[in-house]
């Protein structure tokens, strides 16, 4: 893709020179995005934090010599984060590690749990999607990245991205309806 002017380039270079204000600004701008992408992909806050930390450390290593070429910094950072997530998902497959069941809610937390019920169902449905469909949805819907850039991050054509998104959204709708029926909500 043609990235145009990279809005992060100046900040990354300044951060690479050790400018504390640039570091703070870059962390404020990127860490929440990276953490949320990893969270959507992995479904586990602790693992997502590990991935976000690793991704930002890679950014610090690259920052001193950063030049925006084919990819903008944000595109590059999302690609690094996704690769780290894929790697962790593969390790889960190899080791057979399952995410722990959610703990029983603490006393008094019932109302909060009810309020979060739909959110929990959505997160569970996302976790049930194949990882490429989940990636496409995470990038386009949650990260609000444009289609061209999301396709670039995933290394797929725009047509393939559209197909992943459509299948992902259809499956999500089915899963949400299934759980709603099971819980007597639909």
């Amino acid at each position: 893709m043609s990235p145009g002017r990279d809005p992060d380039e100046d900040l990354v270079r300044r951060a690479g020179r050790g400018d504390p204000a640039a570091v703070q600004a870059l962390v404020a701008r990127k860490l929440p995005r990276v953490l949320n992408l990893a969270g959507r992909m992995l479904g586990d806050p602790a693992e997502a934090e590990d991935v976000a930390q690793e991704a930002l450390l890679r950014a610090w290593k690259q920052a001193p010599g950063w030049k925006s070429g084919k990819a903008r910094f944000d595109t590059w950072l999302h690609r690094v984060t996704l690769n780290l997530c894929y790697d962790r998902l593969r390790r889960r497959e190899i080791t057979g590690v399952q995410l722990p069941d959610r703990a029983d809610p603490a006393p008094g937390a019932h109302e909060e749990m009810q309020a979060r019920q739909l959110g929990v169902r959505v997160q569970a449905a996302l976790a049930a999607l194949p990882e490429r469909q989940r990636s496409a949805l995470a990038l386009c819907h949650f990260q609000e990245i444009g289609a061209m850039e999301a396709a670039d991050i995933m290394g797929v054509s725009i047509e393939a991205l559209e197909s992943l998104l459509a299948r992902g959204r259809r499956r999500l709708r089915e899963l949400l309806l299934e759980t709603a029926r099971e819980e007597g909500l639909a």
């Binding site: 806050p45 976000a52 930390q53 690793e54 610090w60 084919k70 459509a166």
Partner: protein, 138 residues
């Protein structure tokens, strides 16, 4: 002039990219807006269905950034005058060593935190130099 967008194509875009046309591929937005102007009822119905799923997705929990994570990331950032990449290794090496000493001194009272620190340190050393880094420059 390109052909007008069909309803089938409009529906496919809504199915894939959701109910906000502003999030659709740039190249197709103008044609989509023409169709919306020409057939607003059908277009609105298709968008409404997509927006229902969009709204459900908005309920997904977010992952707030813990202060400890923010501080660790900032602490590992390049320092003025430091060798590129050196700071991250130093901070994490020091952090791991400190956690290990603290764990022994406290009789592993802080075992959960230590385990997490060790996991981060191990992951970093495992993926550090050998991990494939996506292309940076054109």
């Amino acid at each position: 002039m390109s052909k007008p967008m069909t309803l089938e194509r409009f529906a496919a875009l809504a199915e894939a990219f959701g109910g906000r046309v502003s999030q659709w591929p740039h190249a197709e937005r103008a044609d989509a807006e023409c169709l919306m102007a020409a057939d607003p009822k059908v277009a609105e119905r298709l968008l409404f269905e997509a927006r229902q799923l969009d709204a459900a997705l908005m309920e997904a929990p977010t992952f707030p950034v813990p202060n400890a994570l923010r501080e660790a990331v900032i602490a590992a950032a390049p320092k003025a005058g430091a060798r590129a990449g050196g700071a991250a290794w130093w901070v994490f090496g020091a952090g791991w060593a400190t956690a290990a000493v603290a764990g022994v001194a406290l009789g592993l009272a802080g075992a959960a935190q230590l385990t997490n620190d060790m996991k981060v340190a191990a992951a970093w050393s495992e993926y550090g130099p050998a991990y494939e880094i996506p292309e940076l420059t054109g």
